[in-house]
Symmetry: C2
Subunit: 148 residues, 2 copies
């Protein structure tokens, strides 16, 4: 199913004038198979085995292309660098304040909030963003350890 989504993405890119290079394909592939919401640099490092000469700029360029094509979403948290996530349906993220882990979490889209906001503010609503913050199970249990 990863492959199916990947195929779909590649085809939707080809429909516009976006060429399919090996680097570009590898970045896409990585984004679709990983579950880790990587940073640009993590993508770069993950692929330097396969593409020893690839430039970081290539990663950034492609992430921009993918974003513009609606294939990939940029996640900006408090920390310095953005993370990137291939877009899937209706899931949100819950993030650990202590260790930074990001876990997917399914929930129907908050259409109601969008509609209400539209009426109240007279904006034309396009999208929304929601995240939940807390402490993950691992960090919770570490905290509970009694230090003697």
């Amino acid at each position: 199913m990863t492959n199916e989504r990947l195929q779909h993405a590649v085809e939707s890119l080809k429909k516009t004038k976006v060429r399919m290079t090996p680097q570009r394909h590898a970045i896409l592939e990585f984004l679709f198979e990983t579950m880790t919401h990587p940073t640009a640099d993590e993508i770069y490092k993950a692929l330097e085995g396969k593409f020893p000469n690839m430039s970081v700029a290539t990663v950034y360029n492609n992430l921009r292309v993918f974003k513009e094509a609606g294939i990939v979403k940029e996640l900006t948290y408090g920390d310095s660098s953005s993370r990137f996530d291939s877009i899937t349906n209706n899931h949100y993220h819950i993030i650990c304040n202590d260790c930074g882990k990001i876990v997917d979490f399914h929930y129907p889209a908050l259409d109601e909030v969008e509609t209400l906001a539209e009426h109240v503010t007279n904006f034309e609503v396009k999208s929304h963003r929601m995240e939940i913050y807390g402490k993950c199970p691992q960090c919770r249990s570490e905290q509970n350890v009694v230090h003697s």
Copy 2:
């Protein structure tokens, strides 16, 4: 009422070992009275009349202190610099994709989502973040102008 909230913030800071300097107070004051969700640099520029020798580092240092004290919230969007907002109750933001304007928008907190996430993921939930994106009334009307 701005003054009341400011007072309260100052006092809660003094309770810990945070000293009240003129610069710190001015930054707090500015954050509580402005409606504009300023960047660190905007705060710096806004106060350079009063404090010609203030360093940008001071602004950043204090914003970190305020964040740690739970008085101020950092908003990170896709663009390069963070914005800062004094924490108030139960309001969210709707942001214009075209001009960047941020408008407050009241809505009861999404407690239900927090509760559900807690059960599903076994995180200990602390907070959440939600924003809505779209096009503001001004940008909408500009778009509709017919160019002859």
